[in-house]
Amino acid sequence: MDKTYNNKAWLLVIPVFLLVAISAIIPIMTVVNYSVQDTFGNNQFFWAGTEWFEDVLNSERFWDALGRNVLFSFIILSIEIPLGIAIALAMPKKGPWVPVCLVLMALPLLIPWNVVGTIWQIFGRADIGLLGHTLDSIGINYNYTANVFDAWVTIIVMDVWHWTSLVVLLCYAGLVSIPEAYYQAARIDGASRWSVFRFIQLPKMRGVLIIAFLLRFMDSFMIYTEPFVLTGGGPGNSTTFMSIDLVKQAIGQFDLGPAAAMSLIYQLIVLLVCYVFFTVMSNVGAEKPEQGVED
């Protein structure tokens, strides 16, 4: 049957296009314009060419912050994705406990970022916080404001606590959509628990795992509020991620040109990683189409 084309549908896209133009395209255009100029305020700009890009690319500060971002995202994904899958697999698929589990899982997601930072800031304090006081009383010298390792562990545990639920809920949605017939067939074939996971559940969760991975990568790579509230980027610069450094440059130092250049490089890295991952995940196990005609 021939597909019907209705070009009037394009009219329905106009509101979305306008929204994206105002919220994304115009700001990006402005950032590109700022990245090649210098300003001292009052809408006065001076041409700087590619100077800011060179400065950013040759600055140790940028590469250090990028390294911290990559390390943080790697640790976060290594923990949250497997943990999210494991919790989703352990959750009941039917019965009265389903809504209880779902609500419990959704609770951390409802808490705003700055509140999460404040909760953990207090939680980790040795004088009034439950975690800090408990660790202190059993002889562990825990101090996230002075010790780099403690600061990193606290930020990682805080992020895992806040965002693993998202992975769990996405994986759970993928799991409950698998028809019972698949499991019946596996039982008839005598498949082991691992085989059911490897050949039924994991392939069926591929779509939601792509979304979970991309969301968690982008969010962890752009993390700002929680570490800013918890450690302020310290001790020293040990938890100064690119977003924190960017805000320090743009708002703290009012270096809008270098900040714009840095944010464009930052965006390109996010785009590249997301595209590579999306392409790889979308094509693993997908059916290959026929070879097309060359352009």
Binding site: L271, N283, P289, G292
Partner: protein, 93 residues
């Protein structure tokens, strides 16, 4: 409309015109040859014309950044390499 806050310059306007021209060109191409010409290239995954343009633009951005960071501010060579890279992407990916 007051647009001084956007800090437009001639070179950045040219840059955006280039990007918009690419998109308009792709629309015209799609109009005359619909379907996006999906195919399996050397990367062994299906790409359409739009994918190839995206890979070309993203790769070109990194070529320019690498040139700026490793060589210097003169970007003509980087632009030349990017054009060759884009041709290779459109022919082989």
């Amino acid at each position: 409309m007051e647009l001084s806050w956007m800090a437009w310059t001639g070179p950045t306007a040219l840059f955006w015109l280039g990007i918009i021209s690419c998109l308009v060109g792709m629309c015209v191409w799609e109009y005359f040859s619909p379907g996006g010409n999906p195919r399996l290239g050397i990367l062994r995954f299906e790409t359409t014309r739009g994918d190839r343009l995206f890979i070309s633009l993203l790769g070109s951005a990194f070529i320019h950044l690498a040139w700026l960071g490793l060589v210097g501010p003169s970007l003509w060579w980087a632009m030349g390499i990017s054009l060759i890279y884009a041709v290779i992407v459109f022919r082989t990916v």
